[in-house]
Symmetry: C2
Subunit: 155 residues, 2 copies
């Protein structure tokens, strides 16, 4: 398996769980936040999806461009729709990446690293915030949450 396909698959092990988690959250919790100034439930989910897109675009283009889409939402259905659309976009983008994109070095906020490190950072950023979203979900009373990652095949 090529390196880029590995990274794509490892990221999907998390994104598919995010979809499942969002299915469990009702509209009344769309703007829930556990502390003042926190991302709300909906904003955190959208932040996960748009950030991954931003990193993948950057690796594709060799330069960072701040996101411009506004991604407004008023319900969890709208949040789910935004996230699903970004998931499809990111999956398509991954298919255009090659191993040479992983070696290309570029800058983000004055930090310099090759594409592979930025994609690792992007995936970890998603796992970090998804972990927080699990906490949000438990705090609003959801008990039957999915496992945090898609497991490998069973024997």
């Amino acid at each position: 398996m090529s390196k880029i396909v590995e990274i794509h698959k490892e990221w999907l092990r998390h994104r598919l769980v995010l979809h499942e988690l969002l299915e469990l959250i009702n509209d009344e919790h769309t703007y829930f936040k556990p502390w003042d100034n926190a991302f709300s439930m909906g904003s955190l989910a959208v932040h996960i999806a748009t950030s991954m897109d931003m990193f993948v675009q950057a690796v594709k283009n060799g330069t960072f461009t701040p996101p411009t889409a506004s991604n407004q939402f008023e319900s969890m259905d709208e949040v789910r729709k935004i996230v699903r659309e970004y998931t499809e976009k990111t999956r398509t983008d991954f298919q255009t990446l090659t191993n040479s994109h992983l070696e290309q070095v570029f800058e983000f906020n004055q930090f310099v690293a090759p594409g592979q490190i930025w994609l690792n950072t992007a995936k970890d950023h998603e796992v970090h915030h998804k972990g927080q979203l699990f906490t949000y979900a438990r705090m609003v009373g959801i008990t039957d949450v999915p496992f945090f990652i898609k497991q490998p095949p069973k024997k």
Copy 2:
């Protein structure tokens, strides 16, 4: 850089941040939990460290063995000490691993995968729970938290 050294370094980008985050938490929050039945602040930190150890031991030995140490604590100083000791143990263990450990296939709870997938899962498990610990920290009023990952060098 060998694959195993890459994985070791990518994991350390998170463990070093965990150390910094734990420094900010006072004893009064040792048993804080955001929902009933949650891990407490201290338990979640210890769970992160002992789980990574368990996975690395498993990859080293080719088989999973449940942890036996009890790791009792009554203060954040004791939590920090436990985590630091596991960090040193895991760093030492990583140095004994070779790329052939990454290819060795074995089972965990009936799921079957090579060492590399289990080490990725282990790191992601740490990032997931560390994300939750950031939420805990913000909820008890800590505002000046570190960035979630050690960044690459600046230009």
